[in-house]
């Protein structure tokens, strides 16, 4: 990966992987949008789409620089603000730096959008936009640096996070939990809020799954056996999650549901993300199945908790973001990791890796929680974060955006 020669096959794979990851945004918009009530679908879709707007501008302006230039152990520097110094001939390994920037930029966009699921149907648009901008700057960019940049302190310790279990799912899942705890429940929660269009949820799942191949297999940053393994794991993991969830439904409720299949697939996808390049397909299936069991029981009992994680951002991504990276450590063994992971860590053994993974999860979880809490409280105080009761009743589409989805 260090010889500075462009490989057209690797580049082709990274170009399309980038497009695939970006396509996850409309997928997420459909997934989340279908889960809300019809009066809030546009507002909810907007939460995903706007990330593709403002976060990307932030990424080009300074986010990429903070995350991926050398800097120190904690955060990058300002060498690449506005991408200065980078041209079409610049290379990152065997691929142009521009495609690396775009690929990582797509990750930066989708991560905060995941959070929106926990606070759907009740937040002000303006505050949400400010929140994701600040969150990207103070949570995503640094954590990304810790884990994926070779000066990052977790990277240097050898933490495994192939495609973003920690960087993406853990950060967004934990922040989702904190945000919905602090912002409170939706007014009509007790009346029973059910998804207004499950077809959109299933379509969204299909798009997400499709895009996730770019997300995970693209994280190999090359078109090779590692990418192929990651791709296969991104196929078997969600398949296992899907089957697990509907088996549980069949056993417990007698009725396996389509929404359950979709949710299980997403849980499997999120779980397999950090492990995609580090475990073999059979292990990926096991890991996804076990995590899905935990997600199932959490999500189906959440009404007992006093939390309104509207669309289960924590229940799915958060839990997968905890168990996925830890499971990676669990399945880590001399043989596998020496093949798949940083060549320099050939002596890595299972137990120490497991402890490192747990440590990384804990550090990132606490950090994300604290920063998110500060941001949410500050925004709640200064700009107001929730819409008024009346706006909530009328629906965000009309009250905030002046439009309705269906006419």
């Amino acid at each position: 990966m260090n010889t500075p020669v462009l490989n057209s096959g690797d580049t082709a794979w990274m170009l399309i992987s980038t497009a695939l990851v970006i396509f996850m945004i409309p997928g997420l918009a459909m997934f989340y949008g279908g889960l809300t009530r019809s009066k809030n679908i546009l507002g909810t879709m907007m939460h995903s789409f706007i990330a593709m707007g403002v976060i990307l501008l932030q990424w080009v302006a300074f986010g990429y620089s903070l995350a991926f230039t050398d800097g120190g152990s904690w955060v990058g520097g300002f060498d690449a603000i506005f991408l200065r110094g980078i041209g079409p001939d610049s290379l990152h390994g065997s691929i142009p730096t521009f495609v690396f920037i775009a690929f990582q930029g797509a990750f930066a966009c989708i991560t905060p959008a995941l959070i929106s699921g926990a606070i759907a149907e009740r937040v002000r648009f303006r505050s949400y936009v400010l929140f994701i901008l600040l969150w990207s700057t103070f949570v995503y960019d640094p954590v990304c640096h810790w884990v994926w940049q070779n000066h990052g302190f977790l990277f240097k310790q050898g933490v495994i996070d192939f495609a973003g279990g920690i960087v993406v799912h853990l950060t967004s899942g934990i922040s989702a939990l904190i945000a919905c705890l602090l912002l409170g429940r939706r007014a009509d929660l007790d009346k029973g809020i059910i998804p207004h269009n499950v077809v959109f949820v299933v379509l969204g799942t299909g798009i997400l799954w499709f895009g996730w191949f770019g997300f995970n297999a693209g994280s190999a940053l090359a078109s090779n056996g590692l990418a192929s393994l990651a791709l296969l794991n991104t196929f078997v993991g969600p398949a296992a999650g899907l089957c697990t969830w509907i088996t549980l439904e069949k056993l417990i409720l007698k009725k396996p549901s389509t929404l359950g299949a979709a949710t299980g697939a997403i849980a499997g996808l999120a779980t397999v993300t950090p492990a995609a390049g580090s475990v073999m397909p059979v292990e990926a299936m096991l890991l996804a199945a076990l995590t899905t069991v935990v997600c199932y029981f959490f999500v189906s009992h959440k009404s007992r908790l006093n939390v309104d994680d509207s669309l289960d951002a924590f229940g799915v991504h958060g839990i997968a973001g905890i168990l996925g990276p830890i499971g990676c450590g669990l399945f880590a063994s001399y043989g596998y990791n020496s093949i798949f992971h940083h060549q320099s860590m050939s002596a890595l053994n299972g137990t120490s890796q497991l402890l490192l993974q747990i440590k990384a999860v804990a550090v990132v979880a606490v950090y994300s929680a604290v920063v998110t809490a500060i941001l949410v409280l500050a925004l709640r105080k200064f700009t107001g974060f929730r819409v008024s009761r009346e706006q909530e009743e009328q629906g965000l589409d009309l009250s905030l955006h002046g439009e309705r989805a269906y006419n």
Binding site: G192, I194, K255, G260, Y296, V299, H301
Partner: protein, 111 residues
Amino acid sequence: MKKIEAIIRPHMLDAVRKALGDRISGMSITEIKGFGRQRGHSEVYRGNEYRIDFVPKIRMDIICKDGDVDALIQILMDSARTGKVGDGKIFVYDVAQAVRVRTGERGADVI
């Protein structure tokens, strides 16, 4: 003139319309939701159960001459009945006046 308002099961609509045949020259139907002795159902989303009390029904409005009411009710009952709770109800109202927009005709000739 009378208005017959029949609340029936959606999937009986076809049979009822066929049974009425030429006995009526027009009707209007509305999709409604009913609540009554027939219990709704429960749905489960992500493991959480929700009770849905309202059952989809079709409301059929037929304006007819006073003398036709009984015969029509009989046909409606015969064709809409399944014998299980939720078959629906028929209500009858007086109509004070009827007008055909196209021609301006009034009264029972309109229907």
